[in-house]
Symmetry: C5
Subunit: 373 residues, 5 copies
């Protein structure tokens, strides 16, 4: 079974520690830090070793993007906190994954939590935590490897819109890119639902039922994420905040529209899921009905015949009286009995045909189905 | 199966490109451009070849309607963008179909996305993107051929209300016309549901179940479209915008009312769908019940009879003792056995009749049904 | 089947005509126009022939009520429009029935659409369109005959509250009267649901299932109407409008309360409907269970007995060996076989009784049911 | 059946009378009127005969509580109306019971409608209409006898908080007392649901199904009442009104909290109801399954055995050929046949055991159930 | 059965007493009172005997936390009320447990009700009532023993954030700690649901159905508690109140986020519950289907065979005519009969195989299931 355990809420905080405390698992690999700084004319990109290098870029470029892969190194994490004056609560949310997508305004940054889906892994998501400051964007990911390479390519290629804009546009680009990865991710669900639908129409099996349950179940958490995204983009595109310039609002509203599209899609899938469950149940009922019909027809035809055979298998002594089974001695006795049986069988068959239960009427149904659909 | 694949979210943007990027499939046929310009006294109408022609009409007429069929020609598309100062995000939405119906106010235009149903094609919809400027209406369609000919006819005939009004009234006329095509489109669903209902009342087949599932499933996306329309008309009829004059608000509120009517209709259809599913399931149960009854009655009557026949078919040797099946030698032995069987059968039949399971009580039910309904 | 076709959305507008266009079916009978004008001291009432007569009363009385039965005469309809300066969109809504109940404020009137139920006709409703002006009330009905005679009687009798008040109080009186007719109308549904419930408790038939489906289905449109009424009365009792004086707000809030009562009633009926559907389904399941039990008990008791009889019906030759069915020659052979059968039967019966499947335990259930309820 | 008819909306107004008209059934017993007036130091209490007596107390005491039992006497009712300047619409609501709980502010009073449950009578409720004036509380009940005696006792005992406060505190005390009676009333439902749950877990009968339906059905109206109460207390504790002093707002918010608690309780019961319906249905399915299993096992074991017995009951003439049933003449013929049967039976039993259908696997299930729960 | 009775609303107030009256059960053990007072530099901690001791600490420390375990001692309770000027309504809520989580602002304190879950006891919750004053936090618990020891440890260890902050931060710490205990509490549900899911996929038993019902039922009250918490934190983090400083708002918003996470989790569990119910029902249907298939296949194969055997078991006298069962005397009679039976059986088996009912097609289904999942 590939279903994730329902029993983990993923709160790994040591209970009772002060809010804003972050507990880092010392076994995770050491984080790598990528820095990308650009202005309209040029850009620099490097993997940094010491956090002190960052300060230098902040002063020289209008936009510096620091991306941290992995959450383990407690010490450098504290350094980050001090360097950018990050609020302890935000830092706690960076480490204690997963959090719901949300946006929070602090004194020196806007703090945005988002979840990236991992294509091909139904239940795997990765949290990207983003701090948007006056002249920097700071992102923390759980693992190396992400869906943001196209953005890096645009920086390198010198796409004018991105290179001319501030860190708020970069933030939009990152969030938009993450949203975009949900489309193929949801399409995957759609493909599977379509395949399932096809199978349920034809010949539903128990495996299909389980698959349906799995799909339905894994859509649920996705829904809470997307609804949270909606709130994030509403608040980003409406609220007055010094970190987002007015012109970016159009772009954020566009993200909002995409989120609505995703939510519609998901709602559609959910409806389809419960509709398919109905379909499955009625298919099973139909199948049972068919099984019952075969049993009923066979049994109901042969039971009376067997009874007649039973009658003439009785051992009453014809010699004891002329009433005792004289048929056994008749000249046409056996043919008479066989004829009687045939007549009874025909009457039964006629009765079933009149009720439309015989195979003949099942076939046309299916034919109709094929023709009409 | 006519169901559209669930697996396409129709986002064809190359992932990671800047928002506002439009990717045009080079294989679609070259777009044709119709221009219609009018004032209260006269009108001009032509199919234009070069976009430069447009500028000329804009200056001379209070209302110029430029309609572009097909989305392929990337070059002229950029020219449009520059000529009318269209926002890249809006242009992206024009090309990356389908989008949800929505309205967005930009600096120089109001941008409205709408979806036109294609009568007779349950799942086919076409996006019409509309830019409403100070003195022009610019529409983009996916394919040539639309439902707007009646409006063109009104322009030609010189209907005073349309010819005297500005581009906002033309916009209303276009949106109203599109909404109007939803009524026969939904009626088609209604017809099919009615037919299905009729069939389900009489003799539900598996094909009906599939049809029901299909209808239910294709109502869902329609609902999201109509709910989006509602938001569009709320915002158009309430918001202050320089592109829509006060007097048009009445007309837009009228569109809003029609949208509500459509939504009610759709909600009604959805309720009917799930009510029909219940009906189907209980019909199947009822049918199974009937099948079971026939089996039960036949089996229960004949099994004891066969048992009695079995008894007298045993080969105990009457000669060995006077207890060994003396009935076989009785003078009235065989008639006695037959009478015993008839009595058992009658008792059974009486029992079933008392439970109301015999055909006699099923008939009246159906009669009642016919009379009462 | 009495269900109305689902396939008619009743929009008869010629598609693509300007909004505000009214299309009148020339075959409907010529409308009749009743005029009633009153002041605190006196009243006049007449059926008018020429619309010019109206103008005269408008000047002389504080309240003039013009009631038009039938919507056919296109010419006089236009005259009305001009005389009272009615907005084309409102006039369109008068003719293109049915519209949702709604209220719209125009420059010279308040325009209110309402739906009157027709007692005894589940699916028949009639639209009453009302224009409330400074000194007149103008009502349009689809057919002659309405539920407003009690109001006319109050005008004639000179009820002081009505005769002293303005056209807004008359409007309230008309709307209140229409709302009042919904109570017996809904009671009729209630009666039918109660009867159905009674029948479903006793002995549900297929006809009851169909009836239930019908009731459920015809409640749906009623709900949309009542929800629209609620919006109408919220807006009438809260909005500032020159056509409704402050003192009338109390009365309109009273109508609002009645609408809420109707909505509660309807919600209750809907809940009852789905609860009855559950009841029906479980009744059918129960019945099937009972049928199965009878079959199971009979078959399970007699099949082993028949098997035993079959054993002793075998023809092994006792002469061939002393192992070959020596029982057949025993002195107590037949009694032994019979006793064996009785014992097997008793064991079976004991087993069924221990499972509570025998008639004895079904009876008490029903008795309990009668006692407890 | 104890279910109240669904067909009564209890609107007894003569249709078409002016709103605010009250129609009093002349057969109801003459109302009795209790008066209670108090100040911090003293109180007076009497049953009054003539309404003129009231005026006297109003002048002498800061709080006078007039309680009218029964709604019949039309004349004194009008006198009340004039004496306290009651609005005709409010007076209509007093008489035309039942109304939804609501609060309405008039010029000289606050008018509050509430519903008192009658303990032990599932469907019986009594309307208490309350007018709160500057120095009086006026209550109208349908019948003598209420749940307010504890409040009267507190007045008599001279509880300082009540005696020192104004009529608004008395109003709060009355409403709070009425709300309090809903707790045992709902507990009664809870007891019944618990008992039902217990029975459904053990051995569900048809009577339990009916009881469940009844409970579910009678919870519905209660819900509308409580939701109305919520609105009443929201509006009472928030709205600015001269009739309620600021300090009483705390107490009304407390009532609001209690209403929320009641609504939660009710929502919980409703959920439990539908969960129990599911339980019932699956119990019935389970039972059917068990019945089927017994039938299947018995039939499937004995049918092949009976077939074998049937084989050797055939009368082929062993004398005619050496192929004709030589077994009949074998020395070990009969033991061979019996052994064959035993083997077939064992194979069948093994098959069923491997599928887990035999009694042995049913027992453990139930045991597990008992242990685990 | 471990389900709590539904019939207790836990309102133990003597009906009709003044609101704000507290009734204390004299049998509960005497409450113990713990006091903890701290400033940035030092802290004191003691179990106090006399309430007079408290006053002393209030003057000397910026934060004094008084924790009362047990609610019994009516006298000291009144002393508390007077000492801290607690509102009688709040004191009533402290004693009459359980109340919904809520927050209420009084003149001298903020009053917050919260519910602590008891790990390992599905239905056991304990109310913690908290008064937040200018320089103290006053908590009342039902029983000794709580989840707050980590906070006490932080006070003792001198955690700078807690020791430097005011009583509002302590309040946050307490509420945050309580919220944190819901995570493992909910995880426990998750574990159980996962286990149940596993079992339902494999071999659902009646015990699983009951367990599912129990889980579903006990999630319901939890939901109302969490929704109330959400309202509490919304109001705490937004409302202006002198008892909570601005900087604490961030922390309270963090609690709000955690509540949302809990609510999502719970909603997910509820969805899973109803999805599992569907799964159970369809599993039962599937099982029944399988049982039916075995019965049908066996019966349908053997019934015709037995009939054939019955035919040749008839006793028609071959000597009476040449038509009377000549087969019995044929040389190949018996082999012919057996061959006939084999042919009939093969035809039947072929028929079932063509329908996919034979074991062979059931096996692959399950295999597929295992492979695919």
């Amino acid at each position: 079974m590939h279903l994730p355990h329902l029993g983990h809420s993923h709160r790994k905080v040591v209970p009772g520690t002060a809010a804003g405390t972050f507990v880092i698992d010392p076994e995770t690999p050491k984080p790598t830090i990528q820095l990308m700084a650009y202005n309209p004319d040029t850009y620099e990109e490097l993997e940094i070793e010491s956090l002190d290098q960052i300060q230098d870029y902040l002063g020289r470029f209008p936009v510096t993007w620091v991306n941290v892969n992995g959450l383990s190194d407690s010490e450098s994490f504290t350094t980050f906190g001090n360097m950018f004056n990050l609020h302890p609560l935000a830092m706690e949310d960076v480490v204690n994954v997963p959090q719901r997508p949300k946006v929070e305004e602090f004194q020196d940054q806007l703090f945005i939590v988002s979840q990236m889906p991992t294509l091909g892994h139904e239940h795997l998501k990765e949290q990207l935590s983003l701090f948007l400051g006056k002249n920097y964007v700071l992102t923390f990911q759980e693992r190396p490897g992400d869906c943001l390479d196209p953005i890096r390519a645009r920086v390198r290629k010198g796409g004018p819109r991105l290179r001319n804009a501030g860190p708020d546009y970069l933030t939009h680009a990152i969030l938009d890119r993450i949203l975009d990865t949900y489309f193929p991710y949801l399409d995957e669900y759609g493909e599977q639902l379509s395949a399932l639908e096809e199978r349920l129409f034809r010949n539903p099996t128990k495996a299909d039922l389980h698959r349906l349950h799995q799909l339905k179940r894994s859509l649920e958490p996705l829904r809470y994420i997307l609804l949270s995204y909606r709130d994030v983009f509403i608040s980003l595109s409406r609220d007055e905040t010094p970190f987002v310039t007015e012109t970016i609002h159009f772009y954020l509203r566009d993200c909002y529209d995409h989120t609505l599209q995703l939510i519609d899609l998901l709602a559609n899938y959910r409806e389809t899921c419960s509709s398919l469950m109905d379909l499955y149940l009625s298919s099973v009922s139909n199948k049972m009905n068919e099984v019952m019909k075969v049993l009923t027809i066979t049994a109901t035809i042969f039971i009376p015949l067997t009874f007649i055979a039973g009658i003439y298998g009785m051992n009453f002594d014809p010699g004891a009286s002329r009433f005792n089974m004289p048929e056994l001695g008749w000249y046409w006795g056996y043919p008479f009995a066989l004829t009687l049986m045939v007549i009874v069988a025909l009457v039964m068959i006629f009765f079933f045909r009149s009720r439309g239960w015989l195979g003949g009427s099942v076939g046309p149904d299916d034919d109709d189905a094929d023709k009409e659909e």
